[in-house]
Symmetry: C2
Subunit: 309 residues, 2 copies
């Protein structure tokens, strides 16, 4: 059973880690959001790709979900000392990743080839694909009239500005990275990880060609909203700012017409009847992934659910 998972950062990384522990590596491809990618102090930073890869490689920081386990912060301290920009949390080991990536991109190597080579170095056997090799930049238009790079909004401003609209700058003319459409075409199921629908899954679907191929497949989404809230990130706040009550139902509605199956947290089991009106099959289960076992357990449920679709 070939699976393609669409993933953003921490939540997506945890589920694909669970899936990677269950599936033969050749049966799992992960298409990762690169809309959050940005340049910082001359470094090209790819937050979601790094979070997914660090998690799959067992390198991730279990406390934060992002960054590297046991990392130090001397580079950032030196940047701060020199009045450089210190709002983005650059761990020392993390900087090594950014340096090598930025250097290789500067020499014309496509991001997908670099990610693939990093996966070999890190012992990751499943296929990790950036959604595109081109620059697509998620821009947050705020209700007070500013336009912000996603990381500025997310890290520097701690998601405080109210969002008016989201733009995937460059998406219209971008192409899917090599291997992306092929993986989708070969997939038996597509899984939308419990990532932010607005800024993790939407950017992937905004790349011309991806949505069209995805809707031909059996798609299952896992709700990142539990009891009206998110474990991490601004998804719930965004729904609210768009005038939609944040809930698993809102997520199911978000993906209506694309997904056949929907998995949501047991906390929200009272929404099942409403959700079942939108999708072919729905399932309430424990979707909170606190540790390696619960990642694997949710991944098992997801695979079982796919087979029953």
């Amino acid at each position: 059973m070939k699976i393609v998972a669409l993933a953003g950062g921490v939540g997506g990384a945890k589920l694909v880690d669970g899936l990677a522990k269950l599936l033969p590596p050749e049966d799992l491809s992960i298409i990762v959001n690169t809309g959050d990618d940005f340049d910082h102090l001359g470094l090209r930073i790819c937050p979601d790709l790094d979070t997914v890869c660090y998690t799959l490689a067992g390198l991730s920081n279990p406390e934060t979900g992002w960054g590297r386990s046991g990392d130090t912060w001397n580079c950032l301290a030196a940047i701060r000392e020199l009045a450089g920009p210190d709002w983005f949390h650059l761990g020392d080991g993390d900087v090594g990743t950014h340096l090598v990536r930025t250097f290789r991109l500067g020499h014309g190597e496509p991001l997908s080839a670099i990610v693939s080579s990093f996966c070999v170095s890190w012992g990751i056997q499943v296929k990790v694909l950036p959604m595109t090799d081109e620059r697509v930049s998620t821009q947050i238009l705020t209700q007070d009239g500013n336009q912000l790079d996603f990381q500025e909004y997310f890290v520097r401003l701690l998601c405080q500005p109210a969002v008016k609209a989201i733009i995937f700058d460059g998406a219209d003319s971008a192409e899917p990275a090599p291997g992306v459409l092929e993986a989708i075409d070969l997939a038996d199921f597509i899984i939308f990880c419990p990532s932010n629908p607005w800024v993790s899954i939407n950017p992937i679907l905004s790349i011309p060609g991806i949505r069209e191929r995805v809707i031909k497949k059996k798609v299952v989404a896992i709700s990142p909203i539990i009891g009206g809230k998110t474990i991490k990130g601004p998804a719930a706040k965004m729904y609210q700012e768009f005038g939609i009550t944040p809930s698993a139902l809102a997520v199911a509605r978000h993906y209506e017409g694309i997904i056949e199956g929907f998995i949501f947290d047991i906390t929200d089991h009272d929404l099942k009847v409403d959700i079942e009106r939108l999708v072919k099959k729905a399932c309430a289960t424990n979707t909170i992934m606190l540790d390696s076992d619960s990642r694997k357990k949710l991944a098992q449920e997801v695979l079982k659910f796919c087979l029953e679709l």
Copy 2:
């Protein structure tokens, strides 16, 4: 008494640190070799400027003389993990310096302005000037026919290749950095630190205008060669490869016609008669700077020697 010191890396940094502890800050300017500067993984690295500044700021690693005290190595480990170039020893804090410098250079700020701003951040009150704001690259032509960037020769190949010639690529068309000629013109004495004459002092003198101004002044050199050897670096080996017996006398001869005074180690006191034939005044003293006190003591001797010239 206004002093201008010409300095390379570790030896020069130690002496200027001693001088900085004795002189009012407005009376000391340091012109630093930038011929060793190079690009590594997209970072502009300025080894001698950093060694001088870290030493003056009390940030330097006392074990190595270069790099930062208590630095960590997680960035380098991550680079190595990804099969990136790991031959250059990048400490994590050090990378912060390189990132901020590279970023500001990329935005068009001249190196001298960046160094000056770093000095403010680091609490350095004496004036630290790069020899030039332009790219001048010390190239080592080896006897086996290769041409190497200085850091490649120095760090990657551990100075093993025999040197045939040294080129300061770009020097002919370079201009001294703002403040360099002014500092020399105002100086009562110029001090050539116990740095490598071939690859630390020569590159500075190779910038059009600097030598011409320096020779108008009272110049005192301190020999980096003690008992035919160097404390650090390839100076002695280079003399040998050029067919010159390495000694304090060879250094005095190297600077003949430029210097009036020469200070060399007491170990070599038997060379005094020969050295006195080349310079107006010579002095054998303890030139080994093992700790902060001996730096200050040598600086005191140097200043006393200048006044007696």
